[in-house]
Amino acid sequence: MTYVSVDADRCVGHGRCYTLAPDVFDADEVGHAILRVEDVSGELERHAVTGEQNCPEQAITLSP
Protein backbone atom coordinates (compact mmCIF):
# COMPACT_ATOMS: atom_id res chain seq x y z
CA MET A 1 0.00 0.00 0.00
CA THR A 2 1.16 3.49 -0.80
CA TYR A 3 -0.23 6.56 0.87
CA VAL A 4 -0.98 9.61 -1.34
CA SER A 5 -1.16 13.17 -0.08
CA VAL A 6 -1.70 16.57 -1.67
CA ASP A 7 -0.17 19.68 -0.12
CA ALA A 8 -2.98 22.21 -0.36
CA ASP A 9 -0.54 25.08 0.22
CA ARG A 10 1.47 24.12 -2.84
CA CYS A 11 -1.36 23.19 -5.20
CA VAL A 12 -2.36 26.11 -7.42
CA GLY A 13 -4.73 24.26 -9.74
CA HIS A 14 -2.70 23.24 -12.78
CA GLY A 15 -5.06 20.26 -12.89
CA ARG A 16 -2.53 17.89 -14.38
CA CYS A 17 -3.09 15.19 -11.74
CA TYR A 18 -6.84 14.86 -12.05
CA THR A 19 -6.65 15.11 -15.83
CA LEU A 20 -4.07 12.33 -16.11
CA ALA A 21 -5.17 10.19 -13.15
CA PRO A 22 -8.88 10.82 -12.53
CA ASP A 23 -9.29 7.62 -10.53
CA VAL A 24 -7.00 8.92 -7.80
CA PHE A 25 -7.33 12.72 -8.00
CA ASP A 26 -10.32 15.00 -8.36
CA ALA A 27 -10.91 18.75 -8.44
CA ASP A 28 -12.50 20.81 -5.70
CA GLU A 29 -14.76 23.76 -6.54
CA VAL A 30 -11.82 26.04 -7.37
CA GLY A 31 -10.05 23.40 -9.46
CA HIS A 32 -7.44 22.47 -6.87
CA ALA A 33 -6.55 18.83 -6.38
CA ILE A 34 -8.27 16.60 -3.86
CA LEU A 35 -7.92 12.87 -3.35
CA ARG A 36 -10.50 10.27 -4.29
CA VAL A 37 -8.49 7.58 -2.49
CA GLU A 38 -5.64 7.86 -0.02
CA ASP A 39 -4.30 4.31 -0.03
CA VAL A 40 -3.38 2.93 -3.41
CA SER A 41 -1.84 -0.20 -4.84
CA GLY A 42 -1.54 -1.90 -8.21
CA GLU A 43 -3.12 0.02 -11.10
CA LEU A 44 -4.19 2.91 -8.86
CA GLU A 45 -0.68 3.26 -7.54
CA ARG A 46 0.63 3.63 -11.11
CA HIS A 47 -1.97 6.34 -11.70
CA ALA A 48 -0.94 8.09 -8.48
CA VAL A 49 2.71 8.05 -9.60
CA THR A 50 1.70 9.64 -12.92
CA GLY A 51 -0.08 12.41 -11.03
CA GLU A 52 2.85 12.94 -8.70
CA GLN A 53 5.40 13.09 -11.52
CA ASN A 54 3.39 15.55 -13.57
CA CYS A 55 2.62 18.07 -10.82
CA PRO A 56 4.46 21.30 -11.70
CA GLU A 57 4.31 22.42 -8.07
CA GLN A 58 5.51 19.14 -6.56
CA ALA A 59 2.47 19.22 -4.33
CA ILE A 60 1.83 15.48 -4.39
CA THR A 61 3.69 13.03 -2.16
CA LEU A 62 3.61 9.27 -2.18
CA SER A 63 4.82 7.48 0.91
CA PRO A 64 4.86 3.86 2.05
Binding site: E29, G31, T50
Partner: protein, 391 residues
Amino acid sequence: MTETEGFVDQAMSGIAEPQPMYKALRESAPVFRSPQAIVLSRLADIEMALKRTDLFSSNMDAVDLGNLRPMIPLQIDPPDHAKYRRILDPLFTPREMAKREPWVAELVNEMIDGFADRGDCDFHEEFAVPLPCTVFLQLLGLPLEDLDKFLEWKDGVIRPQGADGYDGRHEASAPVAQQIYDYFERAIDDHIASPRDDVLSSMIAAQVEGKPLSREELLDICFLFLIAGLDTVTDSLDCFFVYLARHPDRRHQLVEQPDVLPHAIEELLRWETPVPGVARVAMQDVEVGGCPISKGERVSPLLGAANTDPAEFSDPDVVDFNRSPNRHRAFGGGPHRCLGSHLARMELRVALREFHRRIPDYEIKPGTQLVYTAALRSVETLPLVFPVAAR
Protein backbone atom coordinates in the same frame (compact mmCIF):
# COMPACT_ATOMS: atom_id res chain seq x y z
CA MET B 1 28.09 41.97 -28.91
CA THR B 2 28.32 38.41 -27.60
CA GLU B 3 26.29 35.61 -29.13
CA THR B 4 23.95 35.61 -26.16
CA GLU B 5 23.37 39.34 -26.38
CA GLY B 6 22.69 38.94 -30.07
CA PHE B 7 20.08 36.31 -29.34
CA VAL B 8 18.38 38.38 -26.68
CA ASP B 9 18.41 41.41 -28.91
CA GLN B 10 16.75 39.39 -31.66
CA ALA B 11 14.23 37.99 -29.20
CA MET B 12 12.98 41.46 -28.40
CA SER B 13 11.87 41.77 -32.02
CA GLY B 14 10.53 38.22 -32.32
CA ILE B 15 12.39 34.98 -32.90
CA ALA B 16 11.27 31.99 -34.96
CA GLU B 17 13.16 29.30 -33.06
CA PRO B 18 14.06 30.53 -29.58
CA GLN B 19 15.19 27.18 -28.15
CA PRO B 20 18.90 27.64 -29.07
CA MET B 21 18.80 31.05 -27.37
CA TYR B 22 17.37 29.45 -24.23
CA LYS B 23 20.17 26.90 -24.24
CA ALA B 24 22.86 29.53 -24.78
CA LEU B 25 21.47 31.63 -21.94
CA ARG B 26 21.18 28.72 -19.52
CA GLU B 27 24.71 27.58 -20.27
CA SER B 28 26.57 30.88 -20.50
CA ALA B 29 24.53 33.48 -18.61
CA PRO B 30 21.72 31.91 -16.54
CA VAL B 31 21.12 35.27 -14.85
CA PHE B 32 21.48 37.67 -17.74
CA ARG B 33 21.31 41.43 -17.48
CA SER B 34 19.58 42.68 -20.67
CA PRO B 35 18.67 46.34 -21.17
CA GLN B 36 15.00 45.55 -20.43
CA ALA B 37 15.23 43.12 -17.54
CA ILE B 38 17.33 40.55 -15.73
CA VAL B 39 16.55 37.33 -17.57
CA LEU B 40 16.42 34.07 -15.61
CA SER B 41 16.86 30.93 -17.70
CA ARG B 42 17.48 28.07 -15.26
CA LEU B 43 14.43 26.15 -14.18
CA ALA B 44 15.43 26.16 -10.51
CA ASP B 45 15.80 29.98 -10.45
CA ILE B 46 12.60 30.48 -12.45
CA GLU B 47 10.64 28.25 -10.14
CA MET B 48 11.96 30.09 -7.11
CA ALA B 49 11.11 33.48 -8.63
CA LEU B 50 7.56 32.38 -9.48
CA LYS B 51 6.90 31.02 -6.01
CA ARG B 52 8.65 33.72 -3.95
CA THR B 53 6.25 36.59 -4.62
CA ASP B 54 7.67 38.28 -1.52
CA LEU B 55 10.99 38.64 -3.38
CA PHE B 56 9.75 38.91 -6.96
CA SER B 57 6.50 40.78 -7.23
CA SER B 58 4.09 40.72 -10.13
CA ASN B 59 2.86 44.23 -9.22
CA MET B 60 2.30 47.22 -11.49
CA ASP B 61 6.02 47.96 -11.74
CA ALA B 62 6.61 44.65 -13.52
CA VAL B 63 4.76 45.59 -16.70
CA ASP B 64 2.86 48.67 -17.84
CA LEU B 65 -0.01 48.32 -20.28
CA GLY B 66 -1.41 51.77 -19.71
CA ASN B 67 -3.68 50.55 -16.92
CA LEU B 68 -4.52 53.02 -14.14
CA ARG B 69 -4.72 50.51 -11.30
CA PRO B 70 -3.29 47.00 -10.84
CA MET B 71 -4.81 44.40 -13.10
CA ILE B 72 -6.53 41.80 -10.94
CA PRO B 73 -5.40 39.16 -10.03
CA LEU B 74 -2.04 39.30 -11.91
CA GLN B 75 -0.75 42.51 -10.36
CA ILE B 76 -1.90 41.75 -6.82
CA ASP B 77 0.44 39.52 -4.85
CA PRO B 78 -0.41 37.20 -1.97
CA PRO B 79 -2.01 37.40 0.51
CA ASP B 80 -4.67 39.69 -1.11
CA HIS B 81 -4.34 37.77 -4.36
CA ALA B 82 -6.01 34.69 -2.86
CA LYS B 83 -9.37 36.37 -2.31
CA TYR B 84 -9.67 37.15 -6.02
CA ARG B 85 -8.55 33.70 -7.10
CA ARG B 86 -11.19 32.20 -4.80
CA ILE B 87 -13.83 33.99 -6.87
CA LEU B 88 -12.24 33.58 -10.28
CA ASP B 89 -10.76 30.08 -10.21
CA PRO B 90 -14.16 28.36 -9.94
CA LEU B 91 -15.25 30.12 -13.15
CA PHE B 92 -12.34 28.63 -15.12
CA THR B 93 -12.06 25.02 -13.92
CA PRO B 94 -11.74 22.18 -16.44
CA ARG B 95 -15.34 21.23 -15.62
CA GLU B 96 -16.69 24.73 -16.31
CA MET B 97 -14.71 24.90 -19.54
CA ALA B 98 -16.01 21.51 -20.68
CA LYS B 99 -19.54 22.97 -20.60
CA ARG B 100 -18.49 25.50 -23.23
CA GLU B 101 -16.82 22.93 -25.44
CA PRO B 102 -19.77 22.12 -27.76
CA TRP B 103 -20.27 25.78 -28.53
CA VAL B 104 -16.56 26.29 -29.21
CA ALA B 105 -16.59 23.24 -31.55
CA GLU B 106 -19.46 24.82 -33.47
CA LEU B 107 -17.61 28.12 -33.71
CA VAL B 108 -14.40 26.43 -34.86
CA ASN B 109 -16.30 24.63 -37.60
CA GLU B 110 -17.97 27.83 -38.76
CA MET B 111 -14.53 29.41 -39.07
CA ILE B 112 -13.20 26.45 -41.05
CA ASP B 113 -16.30 26.66 -43.31
CA GLY B 114 -15.06 30.10 -44.25
CA PHE B 115 -12.00 28.76 -46.06
CA ALA B 116 -12.23 24.95 -46.39
CA ASP B 117 -13.45 25.13 -50.00
CA ARG B 118 -10.85 27.68 -50.99
CA GLY B 119 -7.74 25.55 -50.57
CA ASP B 120 -5.89 28.29 -48.72
CA CYS B 121 -6.25 30.57 -45.74
CA ASP B 122 -4.35 33.02 -43.64
CA PHE B 123 -4.50 30.87 -40.54
CA HIS B 124 -3.45 33.74 -38.27
CA GLU B 125 -5.98 36.25 -39.56
CA GLU B 126 -8.90 33.91 -40.24
CA PHE B 127 -8.58 31.48 -37.33
CA ALA B 128 -5.95 32.10 -34.67
CA VAL B 129 -7.01 35.71 -34.04
CA PRO B 130 -10.82 35.55 -34.18
CA LEU B 131 -11.23 32.24 -32.29
CA PRO B 132 -10.06 33.21 -28.78
CA CYS B 133 -11.55 36.66 -29.11
CA THR B 134 -14.99 35.33 -30.03
CA VAL B 135 -14.83 32.76 -27.24
CA PHE B 136 -13.93 35.55 -24.82
CA LEU B 137 -16.88 37.70 -25.88
CA GLN B 138 -19.25 34.77 -25.48
CA LEU B 139 -17.78 33.77 -22.11
CA LEU B 140 -18.19 37.28 -20.72
CA GLY B 141 -21.57 37.77 -22.34
CA LEU B 142 -20.57 40.64 -24.64
CA PRO B 143 -21.94 41.32 -28.13
CA LEU B 144 -20.08 39.32 -30.77
CA GLU B 145 -20.13 42.32 -33.10
CA ASP B 146 -17.61 44.00 -30.77
CA LEU B 147 -14.93 41.63 -32.10
CA ASP B 148 -13.05 44.15 -34.25
CA LYS B 149 -13.04 46.75 -31.51
CA PHE B 150 -11.54 44.22 -29.09
CA LEU B 151 -8.82 43.19 -31.50
CA GLU B 152 -7.80 46.80 -31.99
CA TRP B 153 -7.68 47.42 -28.21
CA LYS B 154 -5.74 44.28 -27.38
CA ASP B 155 -3.06 45.16 -29.92
CA GLY B 156 -3.15 48.79 -28.76
CA VAL B 157 -2.10 47.82 -25.22
CA ILE B 158 0.02 44.74 -25.94
CA ARG B 159 1.88 46.10 -28.97
CA PRO B 160 1.47 49.87 -28.70
CA GLN B 161 2.59 51.94 -31.66
CA GLY B 162 5.61 54.08 -30.94
CA ALA B 163 6.73 52.28 -27.78
CA ASP B 164 10.11 50.63 -27.64
CA GLY B 165 10.59 48.00 -24.97
CA TYR B 166 9.48 49.21 -21.56
CA ASP B 167 10.09 52.87 -22.24
CA GLY B 168 7.17 54.97 -23.34
CA ARG B 169 4.77 52.10 -22.88
CA HIS B 170 2.44 53.90 -20.53
CA GLU B 171 1.99 56.95 -22.75
CA ALA B 172 1.54 54.76 -25.83
CA SER B 173 -1.09 52.47 -24.28
CA ALA B 174 -2.93 54.83 -21.91
CA PRO B 175 -5.48 56.23 -24.42
CA VAL B 176 -6.46 52.73 -25.53
CA ALA B 177 -6.57 51.58 -21.90
CA GLN B 178 -9.10 54.34 -21.17
CA GLN B 179 -11.33 53.11 -24.00
CA ILE B 180 -11.18 49.63 -22.51
CA TYR B 181 -12.21 50.92 -19.07
CA ASP B 182 -15.09 52.90 -20.63
CA TYR B 183 -16.32 49.90 -22.59
CA PHE B 184 -16.35 47.64 -19.53
CA GLU B 185 -18.07 50.35 -17.44
CA ARG B 186 -21.00 50.11 -19.85
CA ALA B 187 -20.83 46.31 -20.02
CA ILE B 188 -20.98 46.09 -16.20
CA ASP B 189 -23.99 48.46 -16.10
CA ASP B 190 -25.71 46.31 -18.67
CA HIS B 191 -25.01 43.09 -16.77
CA ILE B 192 -26.21 44.60 -13.48
CA ALA B 193 -29.44 45.62 -15.20
CA SER B 194 -29.92 42.20 -16.79
CA PRO B 195 -27.90 39.38 -15.20
CA ARG B 196 -27.37 36.22 -17.27
CA ASP B 197 -25.36 33.02 -17.35
CA ASP B 198 -21.88 34.32 -18.09
CA VAL B 199 -18.59 35.05 -16.36
CA LEU B 200 -19.23 38.78 -15.93
CA SER B 201 -22.61 38.16 -14.25
CA SER B 202 -20.98 35.57 -11.97
CA MET B 203 -18.30 38.08 -10.98
CA ILE B 204 -20.90 40.73 -10.22
CA ALA B 205 -22.85 38.28 -8.07
CA ALA B 206 -19.77 36.94 -6.26
CA GLN B 207 -19.01 37.76 -2.61
CA VAL B 208 -15.52 38.19 -1.26
CA GLU B 209 -15.28 38.23 2.52
CA GLY B 210 -19.01 38.92 2.60
CA LYS B 211 -18.85 41.83 0.16
CA PRO B 212 -19.36 42.03 -3.59
CA LEU B 213 -16.46 43.17 -5.77
CA SER B 214 -16.30 46.94 -6.22
CA ARG B 215 -16.79 48.58 -9.60
CA GLU B 216 -13.07 49.22 -9.85
CA GLU B 217 -12.20 45.65 -8.96
CA LEU B 218 -14.56 44.38 -11.65
CA LEU B 219 -12.98 46.73 -14.19
CA ASP B 220 -9.48 45.67 -13.20
CA ILE B 221 -10.37 42.01 -13.68
CA CYS B 222 -11.97 42.69 -17.07
CA PHE B 223 -8.87 44.60 -18.16
CA LEU B 224 -6.67 41.66 -17.31
CA PHE B 225 -8.97 39.21 -19.11
CA LEU B 226 -8.70 41.27 -22.26
CA ILE B 227 -4.92 41.26 -22.30
CA ALA B 228 -4.42 37.73 -20.95
CA GLY B 229 -7.14 35.76 -22.69
CA LEU B 230 -6.93 36.75 -26.33
CA ASP B 231 -3.38 37.07 -27.56
CA THR B 232 -2.02 34.07 -25.70
CA VAL B 233 -4.28 31.54 -27.42
CA THR B 234 -3.62 33.22 -30.78
CA ASP B 235 0.11 32.82 -30.10
CA SER B 236 -0.34 29.16 -29.16
CA LEU B 237 -2.37 28.40 -32.30
CA ASP B 238 0.16 30.14 -34.53
CA CYS B 239 3.12 28.34 -32.96
CA PHE B 240 1.40 24.94 -32.99
CA PHE B 241 0.25 25.13 -36.61
CA VAL B 242 3.63 26.29 -37.84
CA TYR B 243 5.16 23.31 -36.07
CA LEU B 244 2.57 20.85 -37.37
CA ALA B 245 2.75 22.22 -40.93
CA ARG B 246 6.49 21.60 -40.88
CA HIS B 247 6.29 18.17 -39.25
CA PRO B 248 3.79 16.13 -41.28
CA ASP B 249 4.66 12.95 -39.37
CA ARG B 250 3.56 14.56 -36.13
CA ARG B 251 0.43 15.90 -37.76
CA HIS B 252 -0.43 12.43 -39.04
CA GLN B 253 0.02 11.11 -35.55
CA LEU B 254 -2.71 13.49 -34.34
CA VAL B 255 -5.03 12.40 -37.14
CA GLU B 256 -4.38 8.69 -36.63
CA GLN B 257 -4.25 8.64 -32.82
CA PRO B 258 -6.82 11.14 -31.54
CA ASP B 259 -6.17 10.00 -27.96
CA VAL B 260 -2.70 11.52 -28.09
CA LEU B 261 -4.12 15.02 -28.62
CA PRO B 262 -4.24 16.22 -24.98
CA HIS B 263 -0.64 15.04 -24.48
CA ALA B 264 0.44 16.58 -27.78
CA ILE B 265 -0.96 19.92 -26.60
CA GLU B 266 1.06 19.73 -23.38
CA GLU B 267 4.20 18.86 -25.33
CA LEU B 268 3.66 21.64 -27.87
CA LEU B 269 3.07 24.06 -24.99
CA ARG B 270 6.37 22.93 -23.54
CA TRP B 271 8.34 23.11 -26.76
CA GLU B 272 6.87 26.28 -28.20
CA THR B 273 6.13 28.11 -24.91
CA PRO B 274 3.93 30.69 -26.69
CA VAL B 275 4.30 33.07 -23.74
CA PRO B 276 8.09 32.78 -23.52
CA GLY B 277 8.60 34.85 -20.39
CA VAL B 278 6.79 36.71 -17.63
CA ALA B 279 7.62 39.93 -15.81
CA ARG B 280 8.46 40.47 -12.16
CA VAL B 281 10.12 43.18 -10.10
CA ALA B 282 12.59 42.65 -7.25
CA MET B 283 11.12 43.73 -3.90
CA GLN B 284 14.49 43.86 -2.13
CA ASP B 285 18.18 43.46 -2.90
CA VAL B 286 18.64 39.80 -3.59
CA GLU B 287 21.18 37.44 -5.14
CA VAL B 288 20.30 34.79 -7.71
CA GLY B 289 22.95 32.37 -8.95
CA GLY B 290 25.67 34.63 -7.58
CA CYS B 291 24.32 37.66 -9.43
CA PRO B 292 23.17 40.62 -7.34
CA ILE B 293 19.76 42.03 -8.22
CA SER B 294 18.76 45.39 -6.76
CA LYS B 295 15.40 46.28 -5.32
CA GLY B 296 13.21 47.71 -8.09
CA GLU B 297 14.94 45.97 -10.99
CA ARG B 298 12.78 44.14 -13.49
CA VAL B 299 13.27 40.40 -13.66
CA SER B 300 12.04 38.13 -16.42
CA PRO B 301 11.73 34.42 -15.67
CA LEU B 302 12.03 32.84 -19.13
CA LEU B 303 9.40 30.09 -19.12
CA GLY B 304 10.63 28.79 -22.47
CA ALA B 305 14.06 28.22 -21.00
CA ALA B 306 12.58 26.41 -17.99
CA ASN B 307 10.68 24.19 -20.40
CA THR B 308 13.84 23.09 -22.21
CA ASP B 309 16.07 22.73 -19.15
CA PRO B 310 17.74 19.30 -19.18
CA ALA B 311 17.70 19.40 -15.37
CA GLU B 312 13.99 18.55 -15.65
CA PHE B 313 13.39 17.23 -19.17
CA SER B 314 15.30 14.34 -20.68
CA ASP B 315 16.12 15.02 -24.35
CA PRO B 316 14.58 18.49 -24.08
CA ASP B 317 15.07 19.15 -27.80
CA VAL B 318 13.01 16.14 -28.82
CA VAL B 319 9.31 16.82 -29.31
CA ASP B 320 7.60 13.68 -28.05
CA PHE B 321 3.81 13.65 -27.89
CA ASN B 322 4.02 10.75 -25.45
CA ARG B 323 6.44 12.52 -23.10
CA SER B 324 5.79 11.50 -19.52
CA PRO B 325 6.19 13.05 -17.10
CA ASN B 326 5.75 16.48 -18.60
CA ARG B 327 5.94 19.03 -15.85
CA HIS B 328 6.14 22.03 -18.14
CA ARG B 329 5.73 25.63 -16.95
CA ALA B 330 4.11 27.10 -20.07
CA PHE B 331 1.36 28.47 -17.79
CA GLY B 332 3.86 29.72 -15.24
CA GLY B 333 3.70 28.45 -11.69
CA GLY B 334 3.22 29.50 -8.12
CA PRO B 335 0.32 31.73 -7.03
CA HIS B 336 0.04 33.53 -10.40
CA ARG B 337 -0.33 30.32 -12.41
CA CYS B 338 -2.37 31.20 -15.50
CA LEU B 339 -6.01 31.54 -14.46
CA GLY B 340 -7.21 30.74 -17.98
CA SER B 341 -5.05 27.65 -18.53
CA HIS B 342 -8.03 25.30 -18.70
CA LEU B 343 -9.86 27.61 -21.09
CA ALA B 344 -6.75 27.73 -23.27
CA ARG B 345 -6.39 23.96 -23.19
CA MET B 346 -10.03 23.49 -24.17
CA GLU B 347 -9.77 25.97 -27.06
CA LEU B 348 -6.55 24.37 -28.30
CA ARG B 349 -7.96 20.85 -28.00
CA VAL B 350 -11.10 21.69 -29.95
CA ALA B 351 -9.21 23.71 -32.57
CA LEU B 352 -6.62 21.01 -33.24
CA ARG B 353 -9.19 18.21 -33.24
CA GLU B 354 -11.68 19.87 -35.58
CA PHE B 355 -9.11 21.44 -37.91
CA HIS B 356 -7.30 18.15 -38.47
CA ARG B 357 -10.56 16.26 -38.91
CA ARG B 358 -11.55 18.66 -41.68
CA ILE B 359 -8.12 19.54 -43.10
CA PRO B 360 -5.62 16.80 -42.24
CA ASP B 361 -3.01 17.89 -44.80
CA TYR B 362 -1.65 21.38 -45.23
CA GLU B 363 1.59 23.22 -45.68
CA ILE B 364 2.86 26.75 -45.28
CA LYS B 365 2.52 28.48 -48.66
CA PRO B 366 5.91 28.01 -50.37
CA GLY B 367 8.05 31.12 -50.32
CA THR B 368 6.53 32.48 -47.09
CA GLN B 369 8.89 34.21 -44.65
CA LEU B 370 7.30 33.98 -41.21
CA VAL B 371 7.66 37.10 -39.10
CA TYR B 372 7.27 36.52 -35.36
CA THR B 373 6.00 39.30 -33.13
CA ALA B 374 7.97 40.44 -30.11
CA ALA B 375 7.46 39.18 -26.57
CA LEU B 376 4.42 36.98 -27.30
CA ARG B 377 5.04 34.50 -30.06
CA SER B 378 2.49 35.05 -32.81
CA VAL B 379 3.26 35.41 -36.52
CA GLU B 380 2.12 38.37 -38.57
CA THR B 381 0.51 36.14 -41.20
CA LEU B 382 0.40 32.37 -41.64
CA PRO B 383 -0.65 31.45 -45.19
CA LEU B 384 -1.59 27.75 -45.37
CA VAL B 385 -2.43 25.81 -48.53
CA PHE B 386 -4.27 22.48 -48.55
CA PRO B 387 -6.18 20.17 -50.88
CA VAL B 388 -9.90 20.94 -51.14
CA ALA B 389 -11.99 17.96 -50.06
CA ALA B 390 -14.22 16.55 -52.81
CA ARG B 391 -17.88 17.29 -52.19
